[in-house]
């Protein structure tokens, strides 16, 4: 059986390359047109070509989201765009509009067509429908419980993709236009303002039911599916998907490498120990900016999977530097500063081939060999002795108490 695919999001070329280096089997990106998440810095066709070259050299794939629900005015240029994506040698498109799916299938293109989660496919009859329409894969709705995913997988022969990490829509994806009504921004054409996460008064006619200090909200905790990955592998799911085309390279590196380690361990050893699972969950938490939960995997969410208070959002400031060079003779690391850190402290390195390891650093020098008291200038290049594992492309973070 083919090894399960780890599919990561990427908002730009640098992030896509990071995700691939840190272990993504495939990345999904948005083009400049016809894609949701219009605020993610989307890819030009030249960027897409550069990425497919890079990805294919690394044995990875590139999926492109063409997932808007087009209005009449959006239909122009679609055919040309789909053909241009073939030129750019992409591996799949992720599509919400059935017209667009069928259009792609009618063209001389070799890439696959995947049915977007915007369609909220939550049963095997829907999957069968898309299979008969000639589609290659269905991304299941995030509303499926693990039990339901199991039953769908048992009754389906079409490859299935399942979300395992990241932001959750509060509604069935695609079936929410709250943003349109509150902000005029079209949720299904890339403008979603995430109005569900705002605060609302809950009223019973003229009587307020909500607590004014703890207002009603429709904000969900993010999904974190580490405990469910083994089962999903056993079910023969084709692809495990991480959400978040707006997230940082640091977030991606942390999340992708964690799931990579988890999946590889399961394939190598047949299972993963509770201790190892705990370590991976701890690792992933270092990049989270929102609390996480099991989504629907453990059943229909109760209030413990919802967010009601502002301070539920966590600010992460742990990521401090990138490793951009290393001299093995002098054992000196060349670092690119990202956030404030102090010399003479214990930092933690992790990389495509390095599992998080604490490393004690001493003096830090800038490019003029001046001794630094603090490293607080983002994008400054600094040098320090490095007594621990290291590789170019690794990232360095502070150790939180």
């Amino acid at each position: 059986m083919q090894k399960i695919e780890l599919l990561a999001p990427a908002g730009n070329l640098e992030k896509a390359k990071t995700a691939i280096r840190y272990g993504a089997d495939a990345v999904y990106i948005g083009g400049k047109q016809f894609s949701l998440r219009s605020r993610a810095s989307n890819f030009s066709l030249a960027d897409i070509q550069e990425l497919t070259d890079f990805a294919h050299r690394h044995g990875s794939k590139v999926h492109v989201t063409v997932n808007i629900l087009p209005h009449n005015e959006d239909l122009e240029g679609l055919k040309e765009y789909l053909l241009a994506l073939e030129e750019a040698q992409i591996d799949a498109i992720i599509v919400a509009s059935p017209y667009l799916m069928k259009l792609a299938k009618s063209l001389p293109v070799s890439y696959q067509v995947h049915v977007s989660t915007q369609h909220s496919s939550t049963n095997s009859a829907s999957v069968r429908f898309w299979q008969k329409e000639g589609m290659d894969r269905v991304v299941l709705g995030r509303e499926c419980t693990l039990e339901e995913i199991e039953a769908i997988a048992q009754h389906s022969t079409l490859p299935l993709e399942v979300f395992i990490h990241g932001g959750m829509c509060i509604a069935y994806s695609g079936r929410c236009v709250l943003s349109n009504h509150l902000t005029m921004r079209d949720a299904n054409r890339g403008g979603c303002a995430q109005s569900c996460r705002w605060k609302y008064h809950l009223m019973d006619q003229e009587q307020e039911v909500s607590d004014p200090d703890d207002l009603f909200s429709m904000s969900s905790k993010d999904l974190q599916a580490i405990p469910y990955v083994q089962k999903l592998i056993e079910l023969g799911i084709a692809s495990l998907k991480i959400e978040g085309r707006m997230k940082s390279a640091y977030y991606l590196a942390t999340v992708v490498s964690s799931y990579r380690r988890l999946i590889d361990t399961i394939y190598e050893k047949g299972s993963v120990s509770a201790e190892e699972m705990k370590a991976i969950e701890k690792e992933i938490r270092k990049a989270e900016n929102r609390q996480t939960g099991p989504g629907f995997l453990n059943g229909i969410p109760d209030d413990s999977v919802q967010l009601y208070r502002d301070h539920d959002e966590i600010v992460t400031q742990e990521y401090v530097a990138d490793v951009i060079g290393y001299d093995p003779i002098t054992k000196t690391a060349k670092l690119l500063v990202r956030n404030y850190f102090q010399p003479h402290s214990v930092l933690e390195i992790f990389g495509p081939k390095i599992i998080s390891t604490p490393v004690k650093i001493e003096e830090v020098f800038d490019e003029e060999e001046t001794l630094l008291e603090v490293c607080n200038k983002p994008m400054e290049i600094v040098y320090t002795k490095w007594d621990g594992p290291i590789e170019i492309g690794a990232m360095v973070r502070k150790i939180k108490e």
């Binding site: 605020r39 209005h71 079936r175 299904n188 008064h201 229909i300």
Partner: protein
């Protein structure tokens, strides 16, 4: 054709007299927004009455389907075939797939609220052999007219509150639990913290629904829609009585027959703003008002 929900069997004759052509009923477990439901055993009686009055009977089956529902769904669809139902509103491809296997796809009306926004997607659903396709409610009059000129089998919601969010989560129950409060009530309003308008919200077993801040109203547009080639119009009667529905049907019927209405209709709570607005793709783009 004018379609609306009628809650009480006794009002069917009045509905017919006012100009109604089709009645839409909800019955669990595959209906949503069940403000008024009928029992499965009553359906045959409704069907008989409708037949006697020359009305068509439609069923709301717009719930999102989960794997454990499939057997019951197939069973229910076979029952609807047996009683020769005139139409079935659905939102999930799984309903279509099972209906096709039973051979009643021609009864289906696709009503996913938000998903159909172009003539090209209407074409896709039409070639599936279904009866009609409901457009997203956020389309402008111009967009609807353009679609109607190309495609005949569309249906437009002309009156009533419409769903703008459908969640599988029990959002009210969860919040009340969070506050350690209890309620059996299902219907509330939401007011965003920095805004004034109220969004009705309804929770039921299948999940939570948020509605448009105001009901749509099309007294000033229905004749244009008719001219553009739209033949199916639906009134969503949620949160209103049969008497109110029948009164509205009467007005729309007159308008469809080309009559001029002298009464001032502007004082109603309904709004036609969606016909004139175009949503934008991202922050910073300018929303245009026509």
């Amino acid at each position: 054709m004018l379609i609306a929900t009628i809650q009480n069997l006794e009002n069917l004759a009045a509905f017919k007299k006012s100009g109604g052509d089709g009645v839409l009923v909800a019955l669990e477990p595959f209906s949503i927004r069940n403000e008024s439901v009928i029992e499965k055993e009553q359906l045959i009686e409704w069907k008989d009455q409708c037949r006697a009055l020359d009305l068509r009977l439609f069923v709301n089956m717009m719930r999102m389907i989960h794997e454990e529902d499939l057997d019951a769904l197939a069973h229910f669809l076979r029952y609807l075939k047996e009683i020769d139902i005139d139409g079935i509103y659905y939102a999930d491809e799984g309903v279509y797939e099972l209906a096709r296997e039973i051979g009643i796809e021609d009864r289906l009306i696709y009503q996913p609220e938000t998903l159909v926004t172009s003539w090209a997607d209407v074409q896709f659903y039409k070639q599936l052999g279904i009866q009609s396709i409901c457009l997203a409610h956020e389309l402008s009059l111009e967009e609807i007219e353009e679609i109607a000129q190309k495609e005949q089998d569309i249906e437009i919601l002309i009156d009533g509150y419409f769903s703008i969010l459908y969640s599988r989560r029990h959002l009210i129950k969860n919040y009340m639990h969070h506050l350690e409060k209890k309620t059996d009530q299902k219907r509330f309003d939401l007011i965003e913290n920095t805004r004034e308008e109220r969004l009705p919200v309804l929770e039921e077993e299948s999940g939570t629904f948020v509605f448009s801040p105001r009901p749509i109203q099309s007294y000033n547009q229905i004749q244009d829609l008719q001219k553009a080639g739209v033949h199916r119009f639906r009134i969503d009667s949620i949160f209103s009585t049969d008497a109110e529905t029948i009164e509205k049907v009467q007005i729309y019927k007159k308008l469809l027959d080309g009559e001029r209405i002298e009464a001032n209709l502007e004082s109603q709570i309904g709004s036609d703003r969606w016909y004139h607005e175009q949503t934008v793709r991202k922050k910073g783009d300018k929303a245009c008002k026509k």
